[in-house]
């Protein structure tokens, strides 16, 4: 019967993944949103299922949360920009200049850091940026010093951590560019810089945007790197962690967690117009 009814077959094939997406993924998000509308008993710490917008009122009226939200968005944007600037030349070299052999080596070396633990890499930067670390040692003869632990250290560490997520989509996007376009551009009298600016970058832009979705969203949600190299700084993730992990105030943590979700949805909506989502 299934053979004769392709609709049914497709339906059966798609049901489990759709259930997974709907129940486990979107369901969890919905549960989060619902939780943010509840409150918590001060004595027992248990959740009280009475509808209230109190958590969101706190979120919007207490200044510190706005400051933290803006800081988080700023850091995520800065990390994204730094990664684009670093990743683009590397990806261009990998895709268009390097020999096939070198290309393979480069792809592997970009991927290799991804196999190392996130924590190891973050702690490596903690050592690098320490007062007696390598950066201070190199900078001292020039009268400079390590930036120390703080937001600059967070930006450096996150940029390092998410760089492969930017290089790979940009590399994939550039590799798809036919070489003939470069030749045509040169034949029409464009120099290398003009070709890059008028031909390569516009065509690679969706790939850059695709990469930025990774770097931006990963930075928006990060709280561990901040704990390790962030000094006294804190981002949205830390507020969620402190409210859930320490204060056990799940409803407020859920309310805070909706902020990055809203920011990412806005970002994705903007990005959709560039066609970058087709490059993912």
């Amino acid at each position: 019967m299934i053979d004769r009814r392709p609709g049914l077959r497709v339906g059966l094939l798609l049901t489990p993944p759709m259930l997974w997406l709907g129940v486990a993924y979107l369901g969890a998000l919905a549960a989060l949103l619902v939780t943010s509308l509840w409150t918590q008993n001060d004595f027992t710490g248990s959740i009280e299922r009475a509808w209230t917008l109190e958590n969101f009122r706190t979120l919007f009226t207490v200044d510190v949360y706005r400051t933290i939200t803006l800081r988080t968005i700023g850091i995520a944007a800065l990390v994204t920009v730094i990664d684009v600037v670093l990743a683009f030349p590397i990806a261009l070299y990998m895709a268009k200049v390097a020999s096939p052999r070198l290309q393979r080596i480069l792809v592997i070396s970009v991927l290799t850091p991804l196999w190392a633990s996130y924590l190891v890499k973050a702690y490596a930067w903690r050592g690098m940026l320490s007062a007696d670390g390598p950066i201070a040692w190199i900078a001292r003869p020039f009268g400079l010093d390590t930036p120390g632990y703080g937001l600059p250290a967070v930006v450096i560490t996150l940029s390092y951590l998410w760089l492969p997520y930017m290089i790979l989509p940009v590399y994939a996007g550039l590799e798809r560019l036919p070489d003939s376009l470069f030749e045509a551009s040169a034949d029409l009298g464009a120099g290398a810089w003009t070709t890059l600016r008028r031909v390569v970058f516009p065509m690679a832009f969706p790939a850059v945007v695709a990469g930025s979705i990774f770097t931006f969203s990963l930075s928006m949600g990060d709280y561990i790197a901040v704990k390790i190299v962030g000094g006294t700084g804190q981002l949205l993730g830390n507020v969620v962690y402190d409210n859930q992990g320490a204060a056990n105030n799940l409803p407020f943590a859920a309310a805070v967690a909706t902020v990055p979700i809203v920011v990412m949805l806005a970002y994705l909506t903007a990005v959709r117009r560039t066609g970058a989502l087709e490059n993912l």
């Binding site: 004595f43 632990y149 006294t232 105030n249």
Partner: protein, 409 residues
Amino acid sequence: MRRNPTKRLAALACAGVLALAATACGTSSGDGGGDGGPKADEKQGGFTAPDVPMTDAIGDPEGQVNILAWPGYAEDGSTDKSVDWVTPFEKESGCQANVKYFGTSDEAVQLMKTGEYDVVSASGDATLRLIAGGDVAPVNTDLLTNYADIAPFLKDQLFNSVGDQMYGVPHGWGANLLMYNTDVVKPAPTSWSAVFDDASTYAGKVTAYDSPIYIADAALYLMKTQPDLGIENPYALDKDQLAAAVDLLKAQKGNVSEYWSDYLKEVQAFKTGDSVIGTTWQVIASVAQGEGAPVEAVLPEEGATGWSDTWMISSKAKNPNCGYLWMDYITSPKAQAAVAEYFGEAPANTKACELTSDKTFCDTYHAEDADFASQIWYWTTPISQCLDGRDETCTDYGEWTTAWTEVKG
């Protein structure tokens, strides 16, 4: 989770840091302040414990006991072959010990509510919640041969008793000390002012503890230096007092290099010189010294905050006899010496001091020093009912969490 020395520290961190994590708890606090504060019943105000019967006698062992403990409190040699005080208990008592470690006081309270566990090592912010919830039974201390040897200043405290009735056996305690780099910080600090009013001397090199409960450290300092604020108990702050503590912490923040909640992070920061002064635990100071860092830890003249843990027995215990045998065993001098040395805290049973492998251990941890202990304000979760008995509304832990977020900005 039970493999290496790092985890041993993790155990301490759990006991220390996460002990605070609970949102709510009953009334109480250590009667610190050095004036030998009132006994439990005078300060507990309207707090009454549910009527839970107490055992009269220890019967035949049931053959097993389910233990809920902070990591490192019930080691059976699986972490380190030489670290084992559970196996001797099993041989001695005939009770098979099933140990479950928990990570936070919240988790402990939730697990105890299941009734699956017979005994629990509860910190000061979990104990009264367990008592109030009827989850633990009063402890008949007459049945415990080692109870008499427990340091008297740990008995009948606000966090382990109601009225004159003990609800557990004290296990061990420790203070949050002031650690400093002896090469950089001169002269040696004697007051918490070194990290508050005078923090700018070491601008960018001060460290502080990353938890809302650290507000109590600021409140303790204000209690001693600004009597006008009327702070009687650093865990009972009204809105104005909390605001004053927050202002102090905000001013401190400008000089802070980083906040620590991971003790290893602090050890490393002191080794590298990223931090030169700040709050610490004795075990962190010992580890840092062991790794060659030029550090010293002192109890400043204002006193300090700290933690104190208690073994409690479940009101629904399926193996109450083995539970009592365990509570008696774990507070015996030999077991106490082993736990305290492994974990890095002062043993409650001071007879343990003769049995520690490091003969100066108890001196280092001030285990027999009642004066030292009386200067400690044991961690307690702030609740809206003022813990110092004032007829006002105090700020609760949720507000402290918000305040801490504001301090960090």
